[in-house]
C-alpha cells in the first residue's frame, strides 16, 4: 500500500512536471513566506507542492531531493528543517547574504510509458536506470526526456544577479526586471532560455494565487519574442504562478524521441 502510494505520488509529480501544457495539469510550485526581507538574521520558510488550486496544497508534496538553492555569491546553500507532509513539503532557509537567492526544484530525467500484458504502465527515473527499470517483456515503449525547473526568489536588501546566472540546461528564466522588485501596475520583463539560448515563440502564462476564491483562473498569457523576452504588467499585488513549456527533439538519451521542457516561477508582486 505504502509503495503504491509512493509510486502514485511520484507519478503525480512526474505528470505535473511532464505535462505542464495540458490545461488540467496539476501545478507545481514553491511559495516563500516572504520574498523581500530586511535584517541580517532573516529567514524564510517555504511551502513546496503539486496542487490544483494556487496556492493550496491539495494533491502531492514536492520532492525536496530536487532542491537546489543558490545564494547571492553564487554558492549552493542548504535548506533546514526539511519536511515532507501529506500534501506539501516545507523547509526553512536562512538568508544572511545581501542580494537575491534562487530557490529551485530541478528535475531532469526520463519518463516512459509501456504495455505489459496488455496493461498501460509508466516509469520515471534517471536515464541511466531506464534499462533496469523496464521489464524485459515491455511492449510499445515510449520514452520521453524531461527537464523542468520550478523556482522562486528571495531578496535581502537590494536585488542582485549573482545567483541568477543560467546553467545552460533546460528551460530557464533570466530576469531583465529583478524578480523581487515587482510592483502592481508596473511592467516586468524576463527572458526565457532553452539550453542557454533565447527561446522564441513560447507561450508564457501567469496566474495570480487565491484561485479558490474566484470562479475563473484569470490567466494572463503572452508569447516570447525573437529574443526570448516577454513582459507582464501586473494588474494587482499577489503571488503569481508563471509557467512556460515546450517540446523539442534535443534528447540526450538515445531511447527518447522527445524532450519536454518546463519552467515555473512563483513571483510576488507587492502593492504600490
Amino acid at each position: 500500500m505504502m509503495k503504491h502510494a509512493f509510486v502514485r505520488a511520484a507519478l503525480g509529480a512526474a505528470l505535473a512536471l511532464a505535462l505542464p501544457m495540458a490545461a488540467q495539469a496539476h501545478k507545481m510550485w514553491m511559495v516563500p513566506s516572504a520574498t523581500v526581507v530586511s535584517g541580517d538574521d532573516a529567514w524564510v520558510t517555504v511551502d513546496a507542492a503539486v496542487s490544483n488550486e494556487l496556492y493550496y496544497p491539495d494533491h502531492f508534496p514536492a520532492q525536496l531531493d530536487q532542491l537546489v538553492i543558490t545564494a547571492p555569491d553564487g554558492s549552493t546553500v542548504q535548506a533546514e528543517n526539511e519536511n515532507k507532509g501529506k500534501y506539501r513539503s516545507t523547509f526553512d532557509l536562512a538568508v544572511p547574504q545581501k542580494g537575491t537567492y534562487r530557490i529551485a526544484l530541478v528535475n531532469q530525467g526520463v519518463f516512459a510509458t509501456y504495455e505489459l500484458d496488455g496493461q498501460k504502465k509508466r516509469w520515471r527515473g534517471n536515464a541511466t536506470d531506464l534499462k533496469a527499470g523496464l521489464p524485459a517483456n515491455a511492449k510499445n515503449v515510449e520514452v520521453n526526456e524531461m527537464a523542468s525547473r520550478v523556482e522562486t526568489f528571495v531578496t535581502q536588501g537590494s536585488p542582485s544577479t549573482g545567483a541568477l546566472k543560467p546553467t545552460g540546461k533546460g528551460m530557464e528564466l533570466v530576469p531583465v526586471t529583478a524578480p523581487n522588485d515587482l510592483v502592481s501596475g508596473e511592467k516586468a520583463t524576463f527572458q526565457l532560455l532553452v539550453d542557454g539560448k533565447p527561446a522564441a515563440d513560447v507561450k508564457v502564462v501567469a496566474i495570480d494565487g487565491g484561485t479558490r476564491y474566484r470562479n475563473a483562473q484569470d490567466e494572463m498569457d503572452t508569447t516570447t519574442d525573437k529574443d526570448g523576452k516577454f513582459s507582464f504588467t501586473w494588474p494587482a499585488a499577489g503571488m503569481y504562478w508563471v509557467n512556460a513549456s515546450a517540446e523539442d527533439k534535443k534528447t540526450s538519451t538515445k531511447e527518447a524521441k522527445q524532450r519536454r521542457l518546463g519552467y515555473t516561477a512563483t513571483l510576488e508582486v507587492l502593492p504600490q
Partner: protein
C-alpha cells in the same frame, strides 16, 4: 557675558541664517486598538524620476536586541524599495527610535545633513508609516525648491498618519 552671548551667536551664524530651510510636522494619530505598537515611519525626498534626493528620518524599533527591529523595515515598502534596502542601519543623523502618537516637528536646513544641498527643481516629500498588526499609509507633498517665498503646504492622512505640514522658507 550672558547678555553678550545671543549677540555673539547672531554674528557667528549670520550667514547660515539665510540658508533656506524646511519645517515638517508629522502627526501620528492616536488609535484606539486592542494591540498598539508605535508605527515605523520613514520620511524622504524624491526627485521627479522617483530617485531619492535625501533620507530625512527613519523611526524604527532600535531597542530590540541583535538589531531585530530591522526585520520590519521592509514593511515601509516604498521607502524600502527606493532607498531603504541600500542603507546600513542605523543611519547617522537620520534614524531613531519609534515615536508616540502626537505631533512631531522636524527642521531641515539647506546645505546641512540630512537635507544636504538640493538642486533647484520639483520634488516630493514622502512620509510612509507601517504599524505592526496595523495598517500602512503613504502621504506625499509636492514642492518646488528653493521656495521663492515662505510657503505652507500640507497633506492629511486617513489611517496611520494624521496632519502633515510642510513649511518652506527661502
Amino acid at each position: 557675558m550672558r547678555r553678550l552671548l545671543p549677540f555673539a551667536f547672531c554674528l557667528t551664524v549670520a550667514a547660515p541664517a539665510f540658508a533656506a530651510d524646511m519645517n515638517l510636522t508629522v502627526e501620528i494619530p492616536e488609535l484606539k486598538v486592542a494591540e498598539y505598537h508605535r508605527p515605523y515611519v520613514a520620511v524622504w525626498i524624491e526627485r521627479e524620476d522617483h530617485t531619492v534626493a535625501a533620507n530625512l528620518a527613519v523611526w524604527y524599533d532600535v531597542r530590540k536586541k541583535d538589531g531585530e527591529g530591522t526585520k520590519w523595515l521592509k514593511d515601509m515598502r516604498q521607502w524600502w524599495r527606493r532607498t531603504g534596502r541600500d542603507q546600513t542601519m542605523p543611519i547617522d543623523g537620520v534614524s531613531g527610535a519609534t515615536r508616540p502618537a502626537g505631533q512631531h516637528q522636524l527642521r531641515f536646513t539647506d546645505g546641512k545633513p540630512p537635507l544636504g544641498t538640493l538642486a533647484p527643481g520639483h520634488y516630493e516629500i514622502v512620509v510612509e508609516a507601517a504599524r505592526e498588526v496595523g495598517g500602512h499609509e503613504t502621504q506625499r507633498i509636492a514642492f518646488d525648491w528653493p521656495a521663492k517665498a515662505s510657503t505652507h503646504l500640507s497633506a492629511k492622512g486617513s489611517a496611520e498618519l494624521g496632519q502633515i505640514n510642510l513649511d518652506l522658507n527661502p
